[in-house]
């Protein structure tokens, strides 16, 4: 068997990250605990809504249409907006504070941002529960006779956006402090990534204001009906694709160093270029969201198709950097075997397990994302269950598991407690992935067969194909499995947040810093080969998609849906 000599850090040893988090001022710790707690509450609400929605789609639960859409709205609003953005704000602040080494700059602004985001959270949850269900994109067309619901719903997102701007400005000011003190002449790669990410958060807040301010003004009688909401939503939605992925990759960088001591063997310059590439590629790749617009010209479709190929370049580049750095460092310490080097990673640490399975889910998700965004397939698949079938690999498998991994490292340092039952938590990511595979395989197949999304009763009076109920039942089974596994992890993280037990030692990490050994000459192929395998899989599944759809007796053309 290939073996790797690993030196496990002694119990209680702390990394630079955890040491700096532990030494933050108490006011910063209180703010961060509040934001982490609110983010986890949003995740719990979203999980409950999602599980109920999946069971309703599977036919196990029955709701009146308004109630079903209200639950779906609560699911989307809670998870896609408040979990993903509260946690991003909190992670930006804690990582910036750790980078600074002396806590947050502009602390009152950070508290103001938190207050705004929490106010938005309350407003959005309340109107989603009591108003006309608008789904998470808040389309005014669904409530043209109910301006109050449209206005209050828009107000919630606008408060969230304002809070994100305040948090981002605080993050930028914080990460600049070492330079202002003359302690550094340039950013670290993480520092630069935080700076760029914070800028991206502000731009996304601009996009949210562009999409939702017209709805609020209309509701107040101060503006016309927001007839272009669908187009404005697409712009925001495009940013919302990239932003959490950039955050997840940044967290992978941070966790890789924390868990193994390894930083990029390619140097900080390449890492900075990759993080900047996220922002360079955001605007040019946005056109593919317009493929559903029936009036889009053919030339724009062609240009959009070409540009869409760049959509995952930064994520795959960052993935390759991280994996090749880990592999080269492992081989420098004597690891052998094509995949044998991975055995030395600290898999008993739940944060490592979460991160590893997140990478697997990313590969699956990207494969099907590329199937969806192709110009010929997008109109046929975008209004089908294909969409939730594939994007849960990202939303749950990649983003949620990555951010939970970060919490498993940060919360014990923040509160002084220890991680709740790491031996149990480290098993959950595999269970989550099994659930996602069942959910995704059934959902994507259902999408290919034409099962619509956002439609709870797909029986069509007995006219629907016989396979549809079976596929949706499998969707319910998969969702139940991953919802339970994520719930266990969330419970563990919440217990850790609330724990006052003194730390009994940290979860295992390894030290793969090469030091004077340097990186050896043995090539590190796993990262590039993974990307090559991904590209091959994209080709295969695209061919399968065309074959499947061409074999169906009916061709459906979607029209202008808002994802």
């Amino acid at each position: 068997m290939d073996t790797l000599s690993t030196s496990f850090a002694p119990a209680g040893a702390t990394s630079r990250l955890t040491a700096r988090v532990a030494s933050l001022p108490s006011a910063d710790k209180a703010l961060l605990a509040l934001l982490f707690g609110a983010a986890l509450l949003a995740l719990v609400l979203g999980l409950v809504g999602g599980a109920v929605t999946a069971l309703a789609r599977a036919g196990a639960l029955t709701f009146l249409p308004d109630d079903a859409y209200r639950i779906l709205t609560l699911h989307g609003v809670s998870v896609f907006f408040y979990w993903l953005y509260l946690i991003q704000a909190a992670l930006l602040l804690v990582l910036a504070a750790a980078e600074n080494g002396r806590g947050l700059a502009l602390r009152p602004l950070a508290w103001t941002g938190a207050a705004l985001m929490l106010a938005g959270f309350g407003v959005s949850e309340w109107i989603s529960a009591t108003g006309t269900p608008l789904l998470y994109d808040g389309s005014p067309e669904l409530a043209a006779d109910d301006p109050r619901s449209v206005g209050v719903f828009a107000l919630g997102y606008l408060l969230l956006s304002a809070g994100l701007v305040a948090s981002a400005v605080c993050g930028i000011a914080t990460v600049l402090q070492p330079r202002l003190r003359g302690e550094a002449g340039e950013f670290t790669s993480i520092g630069f990534a935080l700076f760029a990410w914070a800028g991206f958060l502000v731009v996304s807040a601009i996009a949210a204001t562009n999409a939702f301010l017209p709805g609020l003004l209309w509701a107040l009688g101060a503006g016309p009906f927001p007839a272009d909401h669908g187009t404005e939503w697409h712009i925001l939605f495009h940013n919302l694709h990239y932003l959490p992925l950039m955050a997840a990759v940044l967290v992978w960088y941070v966790l890789s160093e924390h868990l193994t001591g390894v930083t990029s063997i390619h140097g900080p310059r390449l890492s900075k270029i990759v993080f900047a590439a996220y922002l360079v590629f955001v605007p040019p790749t946005s056109l593919y969201h317009m493929f559903l617009e029936p009036n889009l010209s053919e030339s724009v479709r062609v240009v959009g198709s070409l540009l869409s190929l760049f959509v995952s370049v930064p994520t795959l580049a960052a993935f390759a950097i991280i994996v090749s750095s880990l592999e080269a460092s492992a081989r420098a310490r004597g690891a052998t075997g094509f995949f044998g080097w991975m055995q030395g990673l600290p898999w008993r640490n739940p944060a490592m397990a979460n991160m590893g399975w997140a990478a697997v889910n990313m590969m699956i998700g990207i494969t099907f994302a590329f199937v969806l965004i192709q110009e010929k397939l997008a109109p046929m698949l975008s209004d089908t269950f294909f969409v939730p079938g594939y994007f849960h690999f990202f939303a749950v498998g990649v983003l949620t598991q990555t951010f939970l991994a970060a919490l498993m490292v940060i919360l014990p340092a923040l509160g002084g407690g220890s991680l709740w039952r790491p031996d149990l938590l480290r098993r959950m990511p595999a269970v989550v992935t099994i659930g996602l595979l069942i959910f995704g395989a059934a959902g994507i197949t259902a999408g290919f067969m034409g099962v619509p999304r956002r439609v709870f009763d797909v029986g069509y009076g007995g006219m629907a194909p016989a396979a549809w109920p079976l596929l949706m039942a499998l969707v319910g089974v998969g969702a139940t499995i991953f919802a339970i596994a994520i719930s266990v992890t969330v419970y563990g993280v919440v217990r850790t947040l609330l724990s006052l037990r003194p730390s009994g030692g940290q979860a295992p990490v390894v030290d793969w810093r090469t030091g004077s050994r340097g990186v050896c000459a043995v090539p590190a192929w796993t990262g590039p080969l993974s990307v090559a395998a991904l590209i091959a899989a994209m080709y295969v599944f695209t061919i399968v998609a065309f074959q499947l759809i061409q074999s169906l007796p009916i061709i459906a053309i979607g029209g202008g849906h808002g994802h």
């Binding site: 330079r179 700076f195 800028g199 562009n210 999409a211 922002l279 040019p284 946005s286």
Partner: protein, 63 residues
Amino acid sequence: MRMNEELWLVVAIAAVWAALAAVYALVPGLGMPGYVRVWGGGAVLFLGLAGVLVAVSRKAPRG
């Protein structure tokens, strides 16, 4: 003043966003003013952040 790579990267981001905003503003067939606002706003923001980097590098104590 010699621009370091971080400044170049932020300026490059601003330039790409400004170019896309200009395309959406100047090509009538696209007809999507929202893109002009968001990409244009982003260009201004990243240009501002580039200015912040310059200001910080001038203000920072040397040595």
